[in-house]
């Protein structure tokens, strides 16, 4: 991931014996296949960059948090196949599961605490003879955390922990789609703009300016209102907007710096075609920086997804944003800490995962941009 690719210092194997003395023969020869050499160089530069990255404790914190979420994402299908599978599936399915935790409620005229009181009209659904002051048994939704539901249930009686873990997968999926599309487009656009200069460059950069200026969230909201957007479509939209927008500008200046380097000139003189030059020399040198922007792209995608599904503008089965949205729609928000399991797991999950990718991006920035490093 070194920003400047130095001409690889060739790995030279031990001298081949038997050739000494003959002056016109080379006394050393390359004994390893090229791919092994490449791999070793790659590994060495990875180790060096990892060292730089690991100096930054904040980046490690980010990686650690991402790892925790990854474990959650992987564990969910396993749990659904084992402990939460079979008959338990009806209880623990994040979308269509249901579990009525039976609790005692006091019948009252006007409910002040929905977790222990029930209005007369509602009580008569279960017990037609219910009177104010009676204590009746009633399934509780949302149910507070118990050994059965470690994070309680949501207002529709579904297991919050299962929802939380299930949504992790969606977040990673969306982040990856958005990041890959961003990087693919931005690298291509940036390299082409830098390499062809002139009109192409000017045009692509004006497009980038335009996109940068457009308020993304309002536009996504309008799009989400007109169409039914799926998760992957959202990823692609974010990827396209970022790829043609800000990231393209940054990668273009990087590609510009690369395309005037001696080794590109050398390749040009050697008669490489334009596309060959772009793909073999410019893009590989711009890629490290695009990885960096991938991280910021993931952050953005996760936040945007949460916001859109919070407003109900995304066609998604279950997501962190949706979980908050449901809690709000059912009027549980102003109860704050009383129903903490409805508010905090999902809200913090979005925040932490987005922050973790952002922190990793910052730490990578310090590896790629030496000027940011501490001395």
């Amino acid at each position: 991931m070194a920003l400047e690719q130095k001409p690889p210092d060739l790995e030279i194997g031990p001298p081949i014996t038997g050739l000494e003395g003959s002056d016109d023969e080379p006394i050393i020869a390359i004994t390893e296949p090229l791919w092994r050499i490449r791999l070793r160089l790659l590994w060495r530069s990875f180790k060096k960059n990892w060292g730089l990255f690991a100096e930054n404790r904040i980046g490690l914190v980010g990686l650690f948090v991402i790892a925790i979420f990854a474990v959650m994402a992987i564990a969910h299908p396993i749990l659904m196949a084992t402990a939460w599978g079979g008959d338990n599936r009806e209880i623990y399915d994040p979308v269509i599961g249901y579990d009525a935790v039976v609790k005692e409620f006091t019948v009252v005229e006007e409910v002040t605490d929905p977790l222990s009181e029930i209005e007369l009209i509602d009580a008569r659904f279960t017990n037609i003879n219910a009177q104010v002051g009676d204590v009746i048994e009633q399934p509780q939704q949302p149910a507070s955390p118990s050994s059965r539901h470690l994070l309680g249930t949501d207002p529709l009686g579904r297991d919050v922990l299962s929802q939380l873990m299930f949504s992790t997968r969606a977040a990673f999926f969306l982040g990856m789609v958005a990041a890959l599309v961003t990087v693919f487009i931005a690298t291509t656009v940036g390299s082409i703009a830098a390499f062809f200069r002139g009109f192409v460059d000017a045009f692509l950069m004006r497009v980038a300016d335009l996109i940068l200026l457009m308020p993304l969230i309002p536009i996504l909201i309008v799009i989400g209102g007109f169409w039914t957007i799926e998760l992957w479509q959202l990823g692609v939209i974010i990827g396209i907007l970022n790829g043609f927008g800000g990231v393209a500008i940054v990668l273009r200046s990087q590609a510009l710096a690369v395309s005037v380097k001696p080794f590109v000139d050398a390749a040009r003189v050697a008669g490489g075609s334009r596309w060959h030059l772009i793909f073999r020399h410019v893009i590989p040198n711009v890629l490290p920086l695009s990885f960096l922007y991938m991280m910021f792209g993931v952050t953005e995608a996760i936040s945007l997804e949460a916001i859109l599904s919070f407003f109900g503008l995304l066609n998604v089965e279950m997501s962190w944003g949706l979980m908050i949205s449901i809690a709000q729609a059912e009027g549980y928000l102003l109860r704050g800490l009383d129903v903490w399991w409805l508010l905090f797991p999902a809200g913090l999950a979005v925040t932490f995962l987005a922050a973790a990718f952002f922190l990793v991006g910052r730490a990578m920035d310090e590896v790629v941009n030496p000027r940011l490093r501490k001395r």
């Binding site: 457009m214 309008v222 007109f226 928000l333 109860r335 999902a346 809200g347 987005a354 910052r362």
Partner: protein
């Protein structure tokens, strides 16, 4: 200078035209059209065509486009579906000042606080502080904003009961108010605008005199005078209690939006300050024997301000998006809330009008910052 502003204005107008065109095609690309969406499916096809023809929907696309652009440029965004027969423009003009108010105050507050804190933090950087500041800043910056706003409402409004829960005003108090909420609101905006201009002038004038005591006199005298005039205007004012009601409601949304935007500003300022502090002219300033505070404010922070100003343009979309969410979550009846509500109720003319307005707002803010930048950085003044 004027030429620069002129060129910028022309560029931005062109950009706005492109933006409007994109909106038109966005409209066109949406599934179905007006005639399938809003007409009773039992209407026979001939009549349907007739209605479509009456609305010009049978014309070729380019003609529709020209009509649309022509109308839009004359400020005609059509009629709201939900609030028929009010025009989109009248709905928007009612909402615009409220958004402007929220946006301006939150932005000024967040940039001011973020800049001051970022500057101080960079000045006395330290190991343990480094980690917690960055973590805290990044968490605030990436926080799931609608959720954060809800938690803020719960904490400050429901739990601590410091501010009213929601809305723009207390309906009960306004039931037989002798004036409309908007007229009170307009007075608030104008008076605070004049207040800020007065404060700005006082600070500017205080840099002129030669010695320190005079400078301080001008500064505090100017500030005191402006504040006194502001209070003298409002204290006896008949709308005062109503104005304080609105201000009371505005407190939490402004604070919440500012808090989140503040984190990004602080991180950028701090980074930019740390870069600036490595510059040679800082060493020169120290060698001249200047006081640390002078070096920090006059030399380091003044230069660190340049990247922060640039980042404002990039952060604009972020703040506008945040403003929209703020309005929605806090039921603050501004442009953002209008946009979301119209999207959810399929009030397409209003949605498009609101989006165009939001885009215009972004462009105007961009131009203002561009012009400010020219004043801040002499290196680009003569180009």
């Amino acid at each position: 200078m004027l030429k620069f502003i002129g060129v910028r204005l022309i560029q931005m107008s062109l950009l706005f035209l492109v933006f409007l065109s994109l909106l038109f095609f966005l409209l066109q690309a949406q599934p179905g059209d007006f005639s399938t969406q809003f007409l009773d499916p039992r209407i026979p096809p001939e009549n349907r065509d007739l209605i479509a023809a009456r609305f010009g929907l049978d014309a070729p696309l380019w003609k529709q486009y020209l009509t649309y652009m022509g109308n839009v440029l004359q400020g005609d965004f059509g009629v709201s579906f939900q609030r028929y027969p009010r025009t989109v423009v009248s709905v928007i003009t009612e909402r615009l000042p409220r958004t402007f108010f929220l946006f301006t105050f939150a932005t000024l507050l967040s940039y001011y606080l973020g800049f001051v804190l970022g500057k101080v933090l960079a000045w006395r950087r330290g190991g343990s502080q480094e980690m917690s500041i960055t973590l805290g800043g990044v968490l605030l910056y990436t926080v799931f904003y609608p959720w954060f706003a809800l938690v803020m409402i719960w904490f400050f409004a429901a739990y601590l009961d410091l501010v009213p829960v929601n809305q723009f005003l207390t309906p009960l108090r306004w039931r037989d108010a002798p004036f409309s909420a908007n007229s009170v609101f307009t007075s608030i905006i104008w008076s605070t605008l004049l207040l800020s201009i007065g404060l700005g002038l006082a600070l500017w004038a205080s840099r002129k005199p030669d010695n320190e005591t005079q400078r301080r006199l001008v500064k505090w005298g100017g500030v005191g005078l402006t504040v006194a005039v502001f209070l003298a205007f409002w204290m006896p004012h008949e709308q005062r209690t109503y104005a304080t009601d609105i201000a009371h409601h505005a407190l939490l949304p402004i604070f919440t939006l500012a808090l989140v935007a503040f984190a990004g500003v602080m991180l950028i300022t701090r980074g930019s300050m740390l870069e600036t502090l490595k510059e040679d002219y800082i060493l020169t300033a120290r060698a001249k024997g200047l006081a640390p505070k002078t070096i920090r404010d006059r030399h380091a922070a003044r230069n660190a301000l340049l990247p922060v100003t640039t980042s404002f343009v990039l952060g604009l979309a972020f703040i506008i998006g945040g403003g929209l969410i703020t309005e929605t979550v806090f039921s603050w009846p501004g442009m953002g809330e209008l946009l979301l509500a119209s999207v959810l109720t399929q009030d397409i003319p209003v949605a498009i009008g609101a989006l165009a307005m939001v885009g215009a707002l972004a462009l105007i803010a961009h131009i203002i910052v561009d012009v400010m930048y020219v004043f801040l950085d002499p290196r680009i003044r003569y180009q």
